[in-house]
Amino acid sequence: MMGVWFEDDPRLAVIGKRLSKVRHVIPVMSSKGGVGKTLISCMLALALSDSGFKVGLLDLDVTNPTAHVVLGVSVGSTLPEEEKGVVPPEVGGVKFMSVAYYSGENPLPLRGWEVENVVREVLAVTIWGELDYLIVDTPPGIRDEALDVIKYFRGCRPAIVTTPSPLTLVSVRRLARVVSESVGCGYLIENMGGSKPSERVSSIAREFGLKYLGTVRFDGSVDSAVGDLGRLKATGMYADVRGVAERLAEDLSG
């Protein structure tokens, strides 16, 4: 039998094994950029870890990874260990994997199939071990990484992040539709919202059968806390994300 490069890719055969001890995969997705998805992803991972869960965080924003900046990881001096694969270093109790360990702060311009190649490579060689939660930060939009997440993380529960802005809401309905059609379940998190859930966002959750996990209020102090885990955890945003994490864990405990 002759192998055809992309269809008969041996890496695809091992991805399921790499994720076999991961109980829940939560891809954090958004339809628009700038909604705070990376901050939410990082804080969600840290909050779940603080609650005693074993947590991994994968930055799958392949061409523009920034989760390491939020976590204060110096990608120039930190590298995953090699042990029959690549073992992600622990940051604040979270196993953290990113292409930035290898691309540094350099640009990484890639075409679609090259992005998929990176996703396959990372999923095939990363040794997560036993995890309660794997949080996956994805780039905005419904393109390669988002589609790969749905394709490779069977049984995942995507968490869509949106703001209450009317512009964002138009596009979040598109993503919610894709998630609803292809996964069948998932979550909605309202970021930069008010103290109460907005009807506009919660109605989208109802329309597409997604569970509304709560609102995370705008917090102007977060930018100055980026890169410092202690200060990040002292922000109002982190307190709100802890609430989101508790509701997520509660929903998945049943």
Binding site: G3, D9, A13, Y102
Partner: protein, 129 residues
């Protein structure tokens, strides 16, 4: 031993397509870009096939030269001609696409190029016994 993880992928693939029986011939491609340590890779393959009780009677490794083609100007060049530092080669070893972070077309300077051959590990042929 990152090679181990890729060897595991090959073994899982062979188990899947060949159903676990003996293999008369397995041909693998090793692309120059990923710079896989062939001895370590073959050692891992032997150990893993043994673990799964799969006999591979002939293992062939084909080395593939890495060629790059600029999408902006069409220039084709060889990885051999690029002068890459050791730490960059190490990074590329783990995720070959990060070559776009460190290399540009020698003719026009664009990073928009493609690897047209010799990227990484591939399965060329599996012949069941």
């Amino acid at each position: 031993m990152h090679e181990w993880a890729l060897a595991e992928a090959v073994v899982e693939y062979v188990r899947r397509v060949a159903g676990g029986g003996a293999i008369a011939k397995l041909t693998l491609g090793l692309g120059e870009l990923q710079a896989i340590d062939e001895e370590v890779f073959k050692f891992a393959l032997r150990e893993l096939f043994k673990e799964y009780g799969i006999e591979v009677r002939e293992l062939r490794i084909e080395h593939e030269e890495c060629l790059l083609k600029c999408r902006a100007c069409g220039h084709v060049w060889r990885l051999k001609d690029a002068n890459l530092e050791e730490d960059v080669r190490e990074a590329i070893h783990f995720v070959p696409e990060v070559i776009h972070s460190y290399l540009r077309c020698p003719k026009c300077g664009s990073r928009d190029f493609e690897v047209i051959g010799g990227r990484g590990v591939s399965v060329k042929e599996v012949v069941k016994a």
